[in-house]
């Protein structure tokens, strides 16, 4: 077999010949990086600081110092070309187009930052993990995989790396404690596996302007007996949805709906469930971040060992609460959402509220913020402030305080052991660069995906807050800790996550009952866990299934799985948004 | 080649297939086969019958695995018998 | 001189041994599928014979590839290289023989001149008429300068008049070049018109050879007689049965010993200057129910009538060893 370096020449040759025929490449960034001797990295850094990296939480001098460190640390890697990849997102676009250029001019390392669909990122990551062949030098992927990363051992534990072989390329001013998503990327062993790059949450979204209208408030009060406001529980959400879809129907001549969701058979159909839906309904156990011993996937762990997802093994994936969650999702989609919603994917449905005919959405990604504050949109006032607001999501009847309330995740830098050390180091430099304090605030303002507490507390964010519909307030409040990503109970995220969407789709189409769908799902999860146990490759924290028992036994025990409630629709409860926001501003969780 | 995930049984299987291909080729060179019509509803050469035998064996195993938990070796023996019959009378 | 030595064209066929006279035209006459094409292909080296050998000037050609042997071939279909001009086609064997360009040019002009293709040198074959295409094919065969030129029914696909004129041209041209020509055909007229020598072929076996006239006069078998007759020779019942050629039948006796046959007229065909009388001899015999008499001049006889036909005694063909005459068609 030919070595990697030598084997490439035929391809390059042939391609070169072909391309030469096409009139030659005119790519300006092509060709080798300019000779190191002639590049004035210091001047470049100064230019970037002046022209791009402001505002910043650091004073100019500190910024320059930080950048000087990058220049120095990168010296052994000058001229290197590395490839990193992430999903398409405003933040990453900024990194891909602006920050790579800055990084190259400051360090001499050329980074190709690819943007592809999220599913493809995971596919590439898996390809590299399973084959041991280097595909990308670094990945930005959601921290949902923390359970996978910490168990399989493909991923470089950053704690070890920073202390060991990567010590010389670890930014002294990185300030890990400043990252608000740090806990998400920490494994059960306490090691940091990923470095947060962008962060977003899943919140309740609603039309603040409509909720303030007296006529609507009166009508709502009359019909349901309580105030129209931010729903605290699903009963209230349901009432509000019913109110707008079936009773208000039109506002200013336009058909409006009290709910928006998506239902097309697509991998994204599983996300909402794996992200938080079960926990919001209350299927798991209390215990931030994900619930212990049963988490928001309905997977029980004993110690750190996953022990089953079916009720029969002590899990809650097919417990009454999970089934309730699925049923509510289906009912609401059918009864309250616009008819086309059932044919949409996550990406298609996401921008719909921006079109101005959706009154509220129970589960809304803050990544859409940037696209919802553009002047001229039906949901933006003439002064540039939004007509909408974000608020904590309501929870279902099984939920109890101390449980995860929503989904929050951080796309974070992940480095694989199969990436050669020098490339890994260079990529690590780039990763630190794009999250460094010099750059971070500017990036946050562009992409609205805050990662650093220091950024959140900055003046610039305060200025921006009124336009962002509550984003800043949310992140500044301690309440945000109730929003978490998939936790460490999930030992093989790719294999398990893919089980959700086909089963959910089965139920949505009416082919099977919600109970049957969740039963099948839970069974399949157990099967995967069983295989992992059989293979015994995950070591100390690998799955070890409980023996199956009569579900009734588990249901009778305290905690998850919880028995079916007699009344799944308690009275609706709402809070005034302004009270809520005031609590957040004061640093309370409400 | 470790990425090819070799196991002994599959290695033996592929070696057997390769060997039989070699044998068939040598046989063909030594005594060229004549197309004929046997039990099968078409004219076949020796190579055709070999292919049909392989296909039959594959599907026999598939059916076996689908419908019974009995040891697969029985299916293999049946396939061998069917294969020989096909080669001889097909 | 080209020599066939115990050549077996097809498993089971009798071996052929024959010498084709050097510098002459040998016509190989036979029905479709009688082995003409097989013979030409073996001579050209395209196919291996079942057994036996082909020798050229005493040397075996067995190991000589078609390109090396001094044999060229013209097919009945007009085979030319579609992507090459007429000049390119004519020069092709010379290119293969690595002649230099100037010499090729001269030689091509020369051959083109001989074949009347001088004005067409820059055209492509598909822009030529059938006759011209075949001339190019012949020209290319000639350009190889081979000792032996094999022509496999070269004119059969041409229009009647064209065939007629090419036939006349060919003989002079070929004689002029002095190559040994093997020319296959199904038409006995070609044997006379072109042949210095004649070979009759049936069932992949040599039936008879000799000068056309000798074969015509003294066919060795009924099959040979049929082959050399157009329309076919008529069967005279009797023991042993005999054959009489259509052109040897007359309406009037010539001499006292003329054989006479009473026939029933089935119909007449005329081409204006000759008449073909289709008739049925009496008494009717199963295998001799259809006779044709080739009469000169215009003769009009009503169908259904009876006439007597006469044949000079010497023109009745009898054979020592009676062989089954091949069935018509």
């Amino acid at each position: 077999m030919v070595t990697t370096g030598g084997g490439r020449w035929p391809a390059v040759l042939v391609a070169g010949v072909l391309l030469a025929g096409c009139g030659g490449e005119t790519d300006t960034t092509g060709g080798e990086p300019t000779s190191t001797a002639t590049v004035d990295y210091v001047a470049n850094a100064a230019r970037w600081v002046d022209e791009e990296f402001s505002p910043s939480t650091l004073p100019r001098a500190a910024q320059l110092e930080e950048l000087a460190w990058f220049t120095a640390a990168a010296e052994p890697f000058r001229g290197m070309r590395i490839n990193v990849v992430s999903e398409t997102l405003t933040t990453h676009e900024y990194e891909s187009t602006v920050l790579t250029r800055a990084f190259e001019e400051i360090t001499g390392i050329r980074v190709t930052h690819d943007l592809i669909q999220e599913g493809d990122v995971i596919e590439k990551l898996q390809t590299q993990m399973q084959s041991g062949q280097n595909v990308y030098d670094a990945y930005v992927n959601d921290s949902d995989l923390i359970g996978t990363h910490s168990r399989y051992g493909y991923v470089v534990p950053l704690s070890d790396f920073m202390a060991g072989e990567g010590a010389d390329v670890t930014l002294p001013t990185l300030d890990l404690d400043d990252f608000i998503g740090r806990s998400f990327t920490t494994g059960p062993d306490g090691k940091l596996y990923q470095l947060p790059d962008q962060q977003f949450a899943n919140l309740y979204w609603f039309r603040y302007d409509w909720f303030q209208r007296d006529d609507l408030k009166a009508a709502f009060r009359e019909r349901y007996g309580y105030e129209l406001g931010v729903p605290v529980n699903w009963s209230a959400y349901e009432d509000i949805a019913d109110f707008f879809t079936n009773h208000v129907k039109t506002i200013d001549g336009e058909r409006v709906y009290g709910h928006m969701d998506y239902g097309k058979k697509d991998p994204s159909l599983g996300w909402r469930f794996t992200d938080a839906w079960l926990s919001m309904a209350g299927a798991g156990d209390p215990g931030i971040p994900n619930g212990l011993p049963v988490d928001e996937w309905g997977i029980r762990v004993e110690g750190c060992r996953p022990a089953g997802a079916t009720v029969a093994r002590g899990g809650a994936a097919n417990g009454p609460a999970a089934v309730y969650a699925l049923r509510k999702y289906m009912d609401w989609l059918k009864v309250y959402a616009p008819p086309e919603a059932s044919g949409m994917t996550f990406s298609e449905a996401g921008p719909v509220p921006a079109q101005g005919h959706i009154a509220q959405q129970v589960f809304w990604y803050t990544t859409f913020t940037a696209d919802m504050i553009e002047p001229g949109l039906p949901v933006v006032n003439a002064d540039g402030t939004p007509k909408w607001r974000m608020a904590p999501s309501p929870h279902g009847p099984y939920w109890s305080p101390g449980m995860k309330l929503g989904y929050q995740d951080t796309g974070s830098w992940t480095f694989l052991k199969s990436t050669p050390l020098d490339r890994r180091k260079a990529a690590w430099l780039y990763a630190q660069f794009v999250v460094s304090k010099t750059v971070s605030l500017k990036k946050t303002l562009v992409g609205l995906t805050p990662i650093r507490d220091s950024d959140l507390r900055s003046e610039a964010m305060t200025e921006a807050a009124p336009r962002l519909g509550g984003l800043v307030e949310f992140y500044r409040s301690p309440a945000r800790t109730a929003w978490t990503p998939t936790g460490t109970n999930v030992p093989d995220y790719p294999k398990l996550a893919q089980l959700w969407w086909p089963n959910v789709a089965d139920a949505v189409s009416g082919a099977v009952t919600p109970q049957a769908a969740m039963d099948a799902l839970a069974e399949q999860q157990d099967r995967v866990l069983e295989r992992l146990e059989r293979a015994g490759i995950q070591g100390e924290c690998g799955p070890k299934l409980n023996p199956p028992e009569d579900p009734a036994v588990w249901l009778a025990r305290p905690g998850a799985p919880k028995p079916k409630l007699a009344n799944e629709k308690p009275p609706g409860e709402t809070v005034p948004y302004d009270d809520l926001i005031q609590a957040w501003r004061e640093g309370r969780a409400f | 080649m470790s990425w090819m995930a070799w196991t002994l049984p599959t290695a033996i299987f592929f070696a057997a297939v390769a060997l039989s291909l070699v044998v068939m080729t040598v046989w063909e060179r030594v005594s060229p086969s004549v197309a004929r019509r046997g039990v099968l509803p078409m004219v076949t050469t020796r190579g055709d019958r070999f292919f049909i035998a392989l296909l039959t064996a594959a599907f026999l195993h598939v059916l076996w695995l689908a419908f019974t938990d009995a040891p697969v070796v029985i299916a293999s023996v049946l396939a061998l018998v069917a294969g020989i019959a096909l080669m001889r009378w097909g | 001189m080209l020599e066939l030595e115990s050549l077996v064209l097809k498993p089971g066929a009798r071996p052929i041994s024959h010498r084709f006279p050097a510098g002459r035209i040998s016509v190989v006459l036979g029905r479709n599928r009688s082995g003409k094409t097989a013979l030409t292909r073996v001579i050209a080296g395209l196919d291996e014979p079942v057994s036996g050998d082909v020798r050229l000037n005493g040397e075996s050609l067995a190991s000589a590839s078609p390109g090396i042997r001094s044999v060229s071939l013209v097919y009945q279909t007009f085979v030319n290289y579609p992507g090459w001009t007429v000049a390119g086609n004519l020069g092709s064997p010379l290119v293969a023989a690595r002649w230099d360009r100037e010499r090729i040019r001269i030689r091509v002009r020369e051959i083109a001149g001989k074949l009347g293709l001088a004005d067409l040198l820059d055209r492509y074959p598909d822009a030529l008429s059938g006759g011209q295409q075949q001339r190019v094919a012949i020209g290319r065969a000639l350009a190889k300068g081979a000792d032996v030129l094999v022509m496999d029914e070269p004119l059969v696909n041409l229009d009647y008049k064209l065939r007629e004129s090419l036939q006349l041209e060919l003989k002079s041209l070929l004689h002029e070049l002095g190559v040994t020509v093997i020319y296959t055909t199904t038409d006995p007229r070609d044997a006379f018109a072109l042949g210095d020598a004649l070979v009759l072929l049936a069932e992949h076996t040599l039936l008879q050879s000799g000068t056309p006239l000798a074969v015509y006069d003294r066919p060795a078998s009924p099959a040979a007689a049929h082959l050399m007759s157009d329309p076919q020779a008529n069967q005279v019942p009797g023991d042993p049965p005999a054959l009489v050629r259509p052109e040897h039948l007359y309406l009037k006796p010539h001499a006292a010993d003329d054989a006479s046959f009473s026939v029933e007229v089935l119909g007449t065909e005329t081409n204006g200057s000759e008449t073909f009388l289709h008739c049925r001899p009496e008494p009717v015999e199963a295998h001799a129910d259809h006779w044709v008499a080739h009469l000169s001049g215009l003769v009009d006889l009503p169908a259904g009538g009876r006439v007597t036909l006469y044949a000079p005694a010497g023109s009745l063909l009898t054979f020592e060893e009676q062989r089954e005459a091949p069935a018509l068609g």
Binding site: - | - | Y160, F192, A193, L213, H226, T270, G272, L328
Partner: protein, 355 residues
């Protein structure tokens, strides 16, 4: 069966610069076997397509039994055709193929007719087979049979139907065809480039050249009294010899020699004579035109005499005679033309024809 009349028929393909057919007039009698003789590109196929109705013609040009069929589609014209290469419906048996043109008739009639025609053409044994199982010649026989089954057919067109057959078999096929034609009284038009076929088949032959009919006549008349140089050249094998000559008074001269008499206006002309109307002798002596004998071709023998062609050059013109070859050798010779057979042309057309 119908009589067919063409009246000043012309045809030009859309977009073509020249007419493919120009001013054809022709009468084909009811029950006549007519041949159209011409080389490739003479317009034979176009004429066939006009007759069958595959190409539309201007009204007033084609009449079947006096009925103008110029714009009529093929089927009501009741024309059938046998093509150069046999055309059969491959999915049908031979019997079905034969019955197909009669599909509007009662089944019993169909069956009877199929059997009848099949017998006539000796294809009875093939009736149950499919075309794919037949030889080329058998297929063509079936195709011929199919052209004849339709009882109300007005015209049968034959487009070089015997191309596929080898010489020995052509005689047989043609004879069958003629017998059927005669028995059924079918009006047939037989198209060919092969003069032997045309002449032997047809009662009358029309020679087509460059889109025009040069002459329509019985075979013998075509041979003996060609109306046009091209007819002379095209009909007969080999064709007519043509010499540059001159009419002076009532004399016809060639190469300065008087070779016969002709009543025509004085002036240059082309003198034509068939190979069998002249004899060549070797040697310088005697009368006749002096020529140079260049070669001979044996064609056969008749009663101890070799028959064949003799080729000679007269000035720059090559001539051929067909004669007994006894005593002929290359070298100087004399050409004698039978004076009563002399034919002269001027501007292509024949002059001085008596009556």
């Amino acid at each position: 069966m119908a009589e067919v009349r063409l009246d000043n028929l012309s045809f030009r393909y859309p977009g073509a610069r020249e007419e493919t057919l120009s001013g054809l007039s022709l009468d084909v009698r009811r029950g006549e076997a007519h041949a159209l003789l011409g080389s490739s590109g003479a317009g034979k196929s176009t004429l066939l397509n006009l007759l069958s109705g595959l190409l539309p013609s201007a009204p007033g040009c084609i009449f079947f039994d006096g009925r103008d069929v110029g714009t009529m589609p093929p089927w009501p014209r009741r024309v059938t055709q046998v093509f150069q290469f046999p055309v059969l419906y491959e999915a049908m048996t031979v019997a079905d193929n034969l019955a197909f043109p009669m599909r509007e008739l009662p089944a019993a009639t169909q069956r009877q007719r199929v059997v009848e025609i099949a017998e006539r053409l000796s294809v009875t044994a093939l009736l149950g087979r499919r075309p794919a199982a037949l030889t080329l010649v058998e297929k063509q026989l079936v195709a011929i049979a199919r052209a004849l089954t339709r009882p109300d057919v007005s015209l049968v067109l034959l487009d070089e139907p015997l191309t596929a057959a080898e010489p020995a078999y052509k005689w047989r096929l043609r004879q069958t065809l003629k017998a059927v034609q005669r028995d059924l009284g079918a009006t047939m038009i037989y198209v060919t480039h092969d003069q032997t076929e045309a002449l032997t088949f047809a009662d009358r032959v029309s020679v087509l050249h460059a889109g025009r009919i040069l002459q329509t006549a019985a075979p013998r008349e075509l041979l003996e009294e060609p109306a046009h140089e091209h007819v002379g050249y095209f009909v007969g094998s080999p064709g007519m010899n043509l010499l540059d000559g001159e009419i002076r008074g009532s004399d016809c001269l060639a190469g300065g020699h008087r070779i016969g008499q002709l009543k025509a206006a004085s002036g240059p002309c082309r003198v034509g004579f068939r190979p069998e109307w002249a004899t060549l002798t070797s040697g310088d002596g005697g009368d006749g035109l002096p020529v140079r004998i260049t070669g001979m071709r044996t064609l056969g023998a008749e009663r101890e005499h070799l028959l064949g062609l003799v080729m000679a050059d007269l000035g720059s013109t090559s001539i051929i005679t067909r004669q007994v070859l006894d005593g002929i050798s290359t070298g100087p010779g004399r050409l004698r033309i039978r004076p009563e057979r002399l034919v002269c042309f001027r501007d292509g057309w024949r002059i001085g024809a008596d009556a």
